[in-house]
């Protein structure tokens, strides 16, 4: 009798079963972390300490006298602690939080974030809880307070955020905390909510840049404003003063209204911010230099300059307009020091 097929057919399943029964379980790091970490934080408030003190006092009196009514009072106080635990749990459980930050965030400048809390429980409302961003030390975020969320309800509020450092910030979680119901304990829970924010350097101008004349290949100065450049500026209604050749037909087809396209004036005044991004010896010097460069870029663009950026690693060609400012700030937000050490410096060359 040939037994081979009888064994070989179920063999793969047998091996899988064997593996499941005797195999070493591979713990997912996420799960492991959760197991090690207690999922709730708890601290006792001043009132809670009084409460527990009185409870202990009456407990001692009850044991001393054997008086069952004192035991009953002790049991009442203990039951209040228990239902406090249950009710606070029911408040912070199932609450999710989302944040919306403005598009442009500058270092050191407070921004208003919109925080939206949602109660995902079907039967129980959530009462009186606060939501605080769990962040690194450089970010200061005000807590937000919600008085009540109905079952499956949501509410939103605003909170001031201030980022102390430029670059990419990863906001990963909120702390949902409450003193509900009796104010005896402060119970908190972490609610993951991931959001990445790019923080631009500060553009606060400390001193006007000293423009150093440069003999340039970029040409002479011209007036600021709309002109005959190539960058799109805006769309506006056609007037009889306009040259009919400049009617923007695609928009006409779309809206049925005659309009003309205006172009950004090709700036005649050009400036290049030269940033020697050397690794600073003094702490903070590099960041100061980044801020300085950013503030110059902001100032010069607003003055109507075509601004470029030149660092030890790369170069952005001069151009005018808000887009260009965005480009420069983006690059400054992410800039890292070059390998060589020295004193980082910022110069502005004007053409």
């Amino acid at each position: 009798m040939n037994l081979r097929p009888a064994i070989s057919v179920p063999l793969p399943w047998l091996i899988i079963l064997f593996g499941k029964v005797f195999g070493k379980k591979v713990a997912e790091p996420r799960v492991k972390k959760r197991l090690l970490k207690f999922p709730r934080s708890l601290s006792i408030t001043r009132e809670g300490k009084w409460f527990i003190g009185i409870l202990l006092f009456i407990g001692v009196a009850a044991i001393n006298t054997g008086n069952n009514l004192l035991y009953l009072v002790v049991a009442t106080l203990l039951s209040l602690i228990i239902i406090s635990g249950i009710m606070s749990e029911s408040t912070i459980k199932g609450v999710t939080v989302e944040r919306t930050l403005p598009k442009r965030v500058f270092k050191g400048a407070p921004v208003v974030a919109r925080l939206k809390a949602r109660n995902r429980k079907r039967t129980f409302p959530s009462f009186s809880f606060s939501v605080r961003e769990l962040t690194e030390a450089s970010v200061v975020a005000e807590p937000a307070y919600f008085l009540k969320l109905e079952p499956l309800g949501e509410a939103q509020t605003t909170a001031k955020y201030t980022f102390g450092e430029r670059g990419v910030h990863r906001l990963s979680a909120f702390k949902v905390a409450t003193r509900f119901p009796f104010g005896l304990f402060l119970k908190g829970r972490e609610e993951a909510s991931v959001h990445e924010v790019l923080v631009y350097p500060s553009t606060k101008l400390k001193a006007r840049p000293a423009l150093m004349p440069a003999y340039s290949a970029y040409g002479a100065e011209r007036a600021k404003g709309k002109g005959n450049g190539t960058e799109f500026h805006a769309l506006r209604d056609y007037t009889f003063a306009d040259d009919s050749r400049r009617i923007y037909w695609r928009s006409v087809a779309r809206t049925g209204k005659l309009s003309v396209k205006e172009f950004e004036q090709e700036s005649e005044r050009k400036a290049v911010i030269v940033f020697e991004n050397l690794e600073a010896l003094r702490k903070g010097a590099f960041e100061d230099a980044v801020d300085e460069a950013a503030s110059y870029a902001d100032y010069l663009i607003n003055e109507g300059y075509a601004v470029g950026l030149k660092t030890l690693a790369y170069e952005i060609a001069p151009r005018a307009g808000k887009d260009q400012l965005e480009r420069i700030l983006y690059s400054l937000a992410l800039i890292t020091p070059a390998r060589s050490k020295g004193t980082p410096g910022v110069k502005v060359l004007a053409y």
Binding site: N68, L72, A75, F127
Partner: protein, 665 residues
């Protein structure tokens, strides 16, 4: 109604609870409580009008003055810390009611009420306490939640003065009541499992003891009469209903041996000290017969005698040691001055099988040898027992004679110049149990039969709802024990049946007393031994369940009758099965597929469209060719892989698409 009005109402309800609690404290007069209630009502009127006559600044000095009064009260007047503290707290509460402005004032008022309730707890045993405590829990939970929320809100919005309406009203009140009900349930669970000591170190004494007569070393004739109309409860005796005797039950107190013409006294000093055995039981004596267990709750009495039905054989209770004499009297070393609970086991037979020769004191007839009265009694004894042969017949003849020839009354007309016994036998010929029993003992001794008087209680009121006797002062009784050779000491009761108090209680009063009995039995007197009993019962139940399970399984294996399968075992199997099922089907990690996509897949499956394992969501959407499916799949991609939540508008369109999909299905 606005929040302030609610708060005011709750505050006054709480203050009312505090005053009610204080009225439970012993020896705080009703006058004081009423005066304080009046003052509180006055403050309510002021608060409703929004007027304040005591400025807040005066409050602290006033409180200090009241505190000085409290010290003086404690040292000079009441001498009791609880009474003085109760008065102090009450005055403080009323003062606070004059000055209700900030949140803090309300919180202080509630705190004072809590301590008032605490002082009541330390002093009272009344079941009303439970009602007060329960109402206080509701009020306190309401107040604590509200004040805490208000404070949280004001901390978060410092600029705002008010507090939004969301946090109170009907649903919120229901929430509070639910939480309170839950809290009360939890309170009782904790109460019963909280570990107890075997003894309290300082048992609470009360000064309000019940004065009882007939249970001291000397009892003058005529002392029981006055209490025969007093309905004060002396004790409650719980008996297993199947053990309840059909006839009357005699609760034995004390036996007295010597009569001197005016009263009975105990001259024998034959008491021995009995110590607890390892099981916590005092074994008194060995007697044959079936012993019946009684659970006795004794009110605070001014006697050291312990009562038990019939002939007690053992006692179990929170005592260090007890005294016991050969006649069957149980005494404590000193009166307990507190409510005590103990268990007694007794043989209800009227015969005490103690065949040892009775001591000489029981045959003492010296009182018969003086004066003409002795001769008359001896002559009466001869005439009554004429023809009777043995001691038993003689005793029965005397008993029958007394029962039939004398009239029972609680107010005998005393004839001048006669001793109580002489008056009863030959003068007025009327009397109550003491006279009957004394006469019988005298007649027995005249005939040379050893006898003694026993004082105790007869029967009482049976409460079938809780299966216990309610024994009152008016059930006090005395009877006779005579020594009959070969039998031992036999009980005789010469009092006619008119001496038995009859009760016709209303069901309501029985229920009320049942509540009081249960409250005393399971709350006030709850003890370590009760906990041990509960634990043992649970152990027994657990063992029973396993036994049932084992039997059921064994029978199943051997093909035995399935009908014997115990319902408990079935429940256990179901519960275990559910737990196992829960354990094995629990998801290890929550699915990351958004709920709406899963819902869409289910809807499509019902239409016979299901995603193949190898298909990506996009391929599947293409295959179905349904626009809604494509839209929902796009939303899936945004939420699952796009790293952001859907916006409101997107969410709405997903819901709309889902609706269309379902309708078309």
């Amino acid at each position: 109604m606005n929040l302030n009005a609610y708060t005011l109402i709750v505050t006054y309800l709480m203050a009312g609870l505090g005053l009610a609690a204080i009225s439970l404290v012993e020896s705080i007069g009703a006058a004081f409580t009423l005066a304080m209630a009046g003052a509180a009502a006055f403050t309510l009127a002021l608060n409703l009008k929004g007027r304040r006559i005591i400025p807040g600044a005066i409050w602290n000095p006033l409180a200090a003055v009241v505190f000085a009064f409290f010290i003086a009260d404690y040292l000079a007047f009441s001498g009791s810390l609880i009474v003085a503290a109760g008065r102090f707290l009450t005055i403080l509460l009323v003062l606070k009611l004059f000055d209700l402005a900030r949140n803090r004032d309300f919180v202080i008022a509630y705190g004072i009420v809590f301590f008032q309730i605490l002082s009541a707890a330390a002093s009272t045993v009344s079941p009303i306490f439970l009602i007060i405590l329960s109402l206080f829990i509701i009020g306190a939970i309401w107040a604590m939640i509200l004040f805490n929320m208000k404070r949280d809100y004001q901390e978060a919005h410092p600029a705002e003065k008010g507090f939004p309406r969301v946090a109170f009203g009907g649903p919120f009140f229901a929430y509070v009541v639910g939480a309170s009900a839950f809290s009360i349930v939890v309170t009782f669970i904790i109460f019963f499992i909280m570990p107890r000591m075997e003894f309290g170190f300082f048992q609470r004494k009360t000064l309000n003891t019940v004065k009882v007569s007939g249970f001291s070393d000397r009892v003058d004739l005529g002392t029981i009469g006055p209490v025969k109309e007093d309905p004060t409860i002396i004790m409650r005796v719980g008996i297993n209903p199947i053990d309840k005797p059909d006839g009357l039950i005699y609760f034995r107190g004390m036996a007295l041996d010597s009569y001197d013409g005016k009263g009975w006294s105990k001259t024998l000093k034959d008491e021995i000290v009995i110590r607890r055995n390892d099981g916590g039981v005092f074994n008194l004596t060995r007697l044959e017969g079936r012993a019946i267990e009684q659970s006795i709750l004794l009110e605070p009495l001014d006697t050291d005698v312990l009562f038990a039905a019939g002939n007690p054989v053992s006692i179990e209770g929170p005592f260090q040691n007890i005294w016991f004499d050969r006649s069957g009297t149980i005494r404590l070393p000193s009166p307990p001055y507190s409510r005590i609970q103990y268990k007694a086991r007794s043989i209800l037979s009227p015969v005490r099988k103690d065949l040892s020769m009775p001591l000489l004191q029981y045959s003492d007839t010296s009182f018969l040898n003086e004066g003409p009265e002795g001769a008359r009694i001896k002559a009466l004894a001869e005439s009554v027992t004429d023809g009777a042969l043995g001691a038993r017949e003689i005793a029965q003849a005397i008993e029958a004679h007394l029962k039939s020839s004398y009239s029972y009354t609680l107010n005998p007309n005393a004839s001048a110049g006669l001793s109580p016994l002489d008056d009863f036998l030959f003068g007025s010929r009327q009397g109550y149990c003491e006279h009957y029993a004394t006469a019988m003992a005298a007649l027995l001794r005249a005939k040379g039969i050893p006898s003694r008087i026993v004082t105790g209680f007869l029967n009482g009121e049976w409460n079938g709802l809780g299966s216990y006797y309610i024994v009152r002062q008016q059930d006090a009784h005395s009877w006779v024990e005579a020594f009959i050779e070969h039998d031992g000491w036999v009980r005789f009761d010469p009092t006619p049946s008119a001496g038995v108090v009859s009760y016709s209680p209303s069901p309501v009063s029985l229920y009320m007393d049942l509540l009081r009995w249960r409250w005393n039995r399971y709350i006030i007197q709850f003890s370590f031994s009760d906990q041990r009993q509960i634990a043992m019962r649970f152990e027994g139940v657990g063992a029973g369940v396993f036994e049932n399970l084992r039997n059921a399984l064994l029978e199943k294996k051997t093909g035995g009758a399935a009908s014997k399968f115990s319902p408990v075992a079935v429940v256990v199997v179901i519960v275990v099965g559910l737990i196992v099922w829960r354990l094995f089907t629990r998801k290890k990690t929550p699915s990351r597929t958004p709920r709406f996509y899963a819902e869409m897949l289910r809807t499509l499956k019902r239409r016979g469209l299901s995603r193949k394992p190898a298909e990506t969501p996009l391929e599947f959407a293409e295959r179905t060719g349904i626009t809604e499916v494509k839209d929902i799949t796009t939303a899936l991609h945004i939420e699952r892989y796009g790293g952001r939540r859907l916006t409101e508008a997107e969410r709405g369109s997903v819901d709309a698409a889902m609706g269309r999909l379902k309708r078309s299905a």
